[in-house]
Amino acid sequence: MSKAFLFLCTLLAIFISVSGFLTSPSLVQFIFLPVPLYLIATSVGVFRSSRAQPEVVLSSRRSGLILAIFFFSFLLAFKLIGLFLP
């Protein structure tokens, strides 16, 4: 599960960075570049060795995850209400 989450984050970061460079190739995009590079390096390290543990183990961070989901739900609901019920 933790590896899948890491893989998902890596794909998202690559997607954001690549789409950013394609749509608006500017120096501002380089600010975000360390994020996909870091995640790619971490993913390669984790997936190359089957015994390697991801840096973020979700099973030991259950309270943090619940907090993140709660915070996300709050932000999303707040914004959706603002957008569709002005």
Partner: protein, 213 residues
Amino acid sequence: MRRLVAYYCFIIISIMVALGFLGAQDLPQLIGAIIFYPLAVYFTLLVSPRRQKAIHIPKVSVVPVATRLPDEQASPNFDFDRRMFLKLIGSAGMSLFFYSLVTKRGEAAFFGSVPGPGTVAIKDTTGTKIDPAIKQPTDGYRINQLDDTSSATYSYYGYTNKDGDWFIMRETTSGVNVGDYRYYKKKTTDGNFSATWSSRASLSPYDYFDAIF
């Protein structure tokens, strides 16, 4: 070094998510912010300290002050990761604040439209930027009087503004020139609107908009 990059990524992603959610004006921008959110969760979990005591407090027996050695007064076992995390959270908050001062739409730079510094621009349906501050020559005028009965050929529309300036628009309603609109604007020799309106048919010249204004 790796830890430093992780903190940098955390700060950048936090700023992007905060700006994305707070500044989203429509559904696509909100989806962009949602895409960033798993990354924010990842890096937040990565840099947040694990559950442990910030300060290691060993069980010590009470020793009289006179016999206590100076190097025993402060324990070196502080959790420096937590200290660094708190410092970085503070610096991230400050960065977010200053970033919000510099640019109003920071997320737009990552989604294809780089905003100008402090410029308010409106686009028309073709995507061309238009200046909303352009003042039209007839701004401030309001319709004051209408006459479409006294003449078989023309209709007259009288407009005034709050300063007492006025102009009359004449519409040709019949004949070969039907649909023509001509204008007469108050001259310095003319009186006020109510005094001149009665002689609207004899005013001259009625001309094109660009010639009058």
